[in-house]
Assembly symmetry: C2
Homo-oligomer: 235 residues x 2
């Protein structure tokens, strides 16, 4: 049975890396001692080693071991044998490009579909959707495709940001961008504000955290949903 925790962000303003999620993670990873961490999104250009150290430090607080996927000789075998998986944020293009280069997407999908607990934050959440087409990141490398894991039947927009009514900036708002997405793509998009996450248990998908989320469906007016809303039927 699928078991996913899909978070908008790793870090809330004013608190440490993953701090706001730790209580949830104790429960989520209760049968997991060692988590395989995929550091490929390289936030700020960090090396895989540097990024993995940050994650190790955070998970030490809840007594979990973290091994970076870059440390394994055979990444597919590492994923197949993992007790738990975490894909952290950074740049979605870099992450997806690397996943294609080492041909890991199918392996990851099989692991997730068969019940390996998976935590994603930001770019690591974005790849759970049908495509990375609602990423906020810069296209700093060119992946061979934007198709991603599709373990959710819709797309994620992490770090969802409401328009600032006081802004004089004329660049597109997030809502405008997602409207443009729907000129070319059919799947629904959930705008997950920082602090929100999705809990997936089998086919059950639930919004968690203290905030509403914003739902964008093709040819519909966007709407808000409250925490604990059931998203299992969103397409």
């Amino acid at each position: 049975m699928k078991k996913l925790l899909i978070a908008s962000t790793s870090t809330l303003h004013g608190s440490g890396y993953l701090d706001y999620l730790l209580d949830e993670l104790i429960h989520f990873f209760k049968s997991t001692k060692t988590i395989v961490f995929i550091p490929y999104a390289r936030p700020g250009g960090l090396s895989h080693e540097e990024y993995t150290k940050i994650v190790q430090k955070a998970f030490r607080k809840i007594q979990k071991n973290i091994i970076g996927l870059h440390e394994f000789e055979d990444p597919k075998q590492a994923i197949n044998q993992a007790e738990g998986i975490f894909v952290g944020g950074g740049n979605s293009y870099v992450l997806v490009d690397q996943l294609y280069k080492i041909d890991l997407l199918d392996t990851l999908k099989v692991a997730l579909d068969s019940g390996t607990p998976y935590l994603g934050t930001s770019a690591g959440s974005n790849i759970c959707g049908i495509s990375m087409g609602t990423s906020n990141d810069m296209p700093i490398v060119h992946p061979q495709s934007f198709e991603t894991l599709g373990v959710l039947p819709f797309n994620i927009n992490p770090h969802y940001l409401d328009p600032n009514p006081d802004s004089k900036h004329m660049g597109e708002t997030r809502e405008t961008r997602i409207k443009e997405f729907h000129c070319y793509n059919k799947q629904a998009v959930i705008g997950l504000r920082e602090g929100s996450f999705l809990s997936v248990q089998g086919k059950q998908i639930t919004l968690k955290g203290a905030l509403n989320a914003r739902i964008f469906e093709q040819n519909k007016t966007p709407y808000e949903i409250e925490p604990d809303s059931d998203l299992s039927d969103l397409r």
Copy 2:
């Protein structure tokens, strides 16, 4: 001799489409009666016809005819014979995807290199750089490549936005994103604030408008340059 006007945005807050540029455009297009407009970036999902009408209305104020490229049977011939070219903003992925699909990039580059006056705004400016890798847009379609015209020896980040010191949003700042770009790409990037534009006359590249621009070079601290700065040697 190359003759380009490369603007961060089409529209300033509180004024109409292209209004702030009209005086400049009278001078820039003084030998041009008819401008071929490329509407492919489709802002907000507008049709090519709708977008072209907006542009026609703006250019009527300075007595210029606008013909949308989608109205021509042979787009390459239209570009080869154009007296002037304007590529408007919208979504860079959609624009670049369409330019590749109809194999127009080389034709456009030849026209620009041989002196056809070219106006770009936003996505239409982004494609003048070496790549679209510093676009702010959402990857709503997958172009076969991110390489663009390269009529400038560096990259453009249009609608450049300074970090908001009061923000509690943890999504990456524009500066962080461009730093990540430089982990994978060597070319300099110019962050053009809304209201800024580049004037290109042959090999001479000059910052115009009232605002400073921000320059990002690989392995250097970003720095500000003032209006009328010479950018001809930026790489």
